[in-house]
Amino acid sequence: MAAPKVVPKDAQVMTQILKDMGIAEYEPRVINQMLEFTYRYVTTIIEDAKIYSTHAKKSNVDADDVRLAIQCRMDQSFTSPPPRDFLLEVARQKNQTPLPLIKPYTGPRLPPDRYCLTAPNYRLKSLQKKVSSSAGRITVPRLSVGAMSSRPSTPTLGKGTPVSQSVTLTTKVGTPVSLSGQRFTVQIPSSQSSTVKSAMPSTPTVQNVLINPSLIGSKNILITTNMVSSQSSANESNALKRKHEDEDDYDTL
């Protein structure tokens, strides 16, 4: 147990390489990194060589396969910058065009929009609910965000609607969302409502809540907090919810 630490031969080789190249100070983990790189590189090359040799229907992997594997890897991973004459030629061509004049008073000078990163990187999908079922249910496009895992709940006392969802709208501070004309529903976990669930009438109540106008401009949104109180409505709403769950969770591009 108390044997002196024996450095494996590979690590000794790495140490020697570092010494030969004149590197005197290095962290000890550098050796491990070098070993890892070597292992990864060699196995990649050998695997590639195996593939090439089977492709050429040879029984053994021979030097030519390895050479080809190295060549392909070099062109793929270990590329080097273009040669000097090529660069000189490209530079010569590029430098011939005169510098473009600057138009005055154009605001922030940025490239055309498709080359900038200023576009919104999400898209809101509007979904038309089936105009069916009970009256009083407001059919509004829903913005479903996150998994809504609600199960049909029996109207029992004391049990809350096990809806655990995060109501985080995708809009962030700073990116104005153009949602003009849309009204959408947000499901809010209504844990406190569960206690009064049983006492409530079976029809779902709708509440209008004005949420943060900064998120959507000056339009009003309707937030319906569906009190899942009755079985039927629960089923229906669950069915609907489940449907949304499938479709609206991810923006289909």
Binding site: P81, R84, L87, K94, P100, P104, R109, L110, P111, S214
Partner: protein, 758 residues
Amino acid sequence: MAAVQDGPIEPEPENEIKTEASNEFPGNPGDASGGVPPTAPVAAVATEKPAAAATDSTERQTLLAVLQFLKKSKLFESEEILRREAGLLNETGDSQGAAPGGAGLGGGGGAEPESGDASSVLSRVAGAVAVAQSANATPAPAKVAPVVTGGEDQPDVNVVLAAYSQQGDPVLYPVYYSGLKRFIDSVLDCHRAELSQVFYPLFVHMYLELVYNQYEKEAKAFFDKFHGDQECYYKDDLRILSGLTKSEHMKGNETLLDFRTSKFVLRISRDSYQLLKRHLQERQNNQIWNIIQEHLYIDIFDGMPRSKGQIDSMSGSLAGEAKREANKAKVFYGLLKEPEIEVPLDDEDEEAENEEGKPKKKKPKKDSTGSKSKKQDPNAPQQSRIPLPELKDSDKLDKIMNMKEATKRVRLGPESLPSICFYTFLNAYQGLTAVDFTDDSSLVAGGFADSTVRVWSVTPKKLRGVKTAGDLSLIDKDSDDVLERIMDEKTASESKNLYGHSGPVYGISFSPDRNYLLSCSEDATVRLWSLQTFTCLVGYKGHNYPVWDTQFSPYGYYFISGGHDRVARLWATDHYQPLRMFSGHLADVTCTRFHPNSNYVATGSADRTIRLWDVLNGNCVRIFTGHKGPIHCLAFSPNGKFLASGATDGRVLLWDIGHGLMIGELKGHTDTVYALKFSRDGEILASGSMDNTVRLWDTVKAFDDIETDDFTAATGHITLPENSQELLLGSYMTKSTPVIHLHFTRRNLLLGAGAYNP
């Protein structure tokens, strides 16, 4: 084109012996040589003294190469016809330039095949095979086989002529080299220093040739024997070479490939050059002469040979020194005229821009930074030489602030040194890779190895982003302080993080109007961030390799970037592709800086040169050599005339841009110099280094000492005064914090930045 014979008697017996040898030589593929010798022996081996052949040697070489090719392809009749027409009667193939050379390999005394141009060419055509054969073959009495071609031959003659190819027996390279060494040791002292410049390029080229032709063992032996003789400042290069033993290694190394194809420039006085030339054109040294002709460019000047000190100060770069013509172009180093702006006495916002400088209002203070005379400075570029963005109102306000601050500026000098305020980045875990301050010193940004960029506010005022669109629509647009109202108070903070890069951030630059921040990274992009919304606006793609440095132009709108692909690019913020590409460096571009008049760009590189480029047409107008390590920082003096540079060798060099000369050398740092900054009026140069110190240098004195007489300007010789000690005004240590950035505030307070590194 008839072969000029010197000493006609001598070669003849040689020829006879040769033809016999060729006839008995067993390894000839085909009858190539069999058919030819009859015609050969008459004329001598091409022994025209290279002196005569200097000018038409290339034509001769081409002809001979063609002949050889014909012979190789067994087109004997065509070969005969061509030979007769060209008047070449000699079978020059016999004198295989290889071994026989100087080694005094006995064999018929004096039968040294004068390896003139012809033989060297043919040896090229023959390639290594011939030599291999000679090595394997019967130990011919030092008479090499006729050029038997086969094996690795070069298909294209032009390629042959241009390519690096076998020039001689690899075993004899050390002999040639030692011969040269002995010669140089024997010359007069005054010439020795200059001629010693030849050693390094010769050594490297010979070594690379051996490697390229796959003589690994010989290459190693050659290297081991002679690498210790080289100058100490080439140590890093030699270490890289030592790891390069196979020709496959060379393929990936662009820098070495460039080195092989470009000419190493040496500046030698005419007398020394004559000496060298005379010696090398004697018989046995023609190999070296060939290499010199092919790979070295000798810039001859008339005058006194330079001393070792002078040479040492200018040499060290990967491509030798700079040719004198390279530094002769006119450079407009003056500053652009500032537009005259009225500074109102009572601090009102209204001002009038008055180009003529004639005050029209009642006693306003005239701004003194505008040029007093209406005459154009002859050294300044035209105002419209390159298009520059117009001055917006906010810019004018900035300028006024600047001028007000300038009046309160501390005058620095040897008696009045600046105070230094050092910003230490804690808990950066060696990840701080770039720092920049805004011009008015209100913001500082740091780029980190974990690919984040962080902006801090130096003043108590917090950082605020613009409100979101919803909030913005609620504010009163007509109020006076609308610009404050659009800022979001709720998310105000001391620092903001900017995420977007996917690799360590190596360069940061604020725009002069404080609206934008640029950052460049190992992920090969340069990103433009808005400092009003603290989000990324654009990613400029162009370099496909890590970008090491970037900087905004002093007027905004343009910026430059330099990276691993050895080019520096000029961009404009509203073009997604670069406007100019500055290519010419042999190794990575590590530092890029704009000149104060925005018409020129200086780039420092890992090939140890600094180049000055013209923005208008992309030409390289100056090449400065002298550093012995990769250059990491550059600074232009505020008056635009001088450039200071710092490198891994710990020295700071001062350059006169107008004349293209080195005018000062500041020694003192013991480790890489990473930060350089001139004070606001240019009286003091501050340098910060990895050795945890900030040093202040007196530039007024340094620039006073220049003597630029005609001789200096013409030949580029400089004698640097050894006055680093006198110029050093102060040296300040930090607590184990390498200094990576320096900045003078508008009032000449020096700010420094670095990451604590215990």
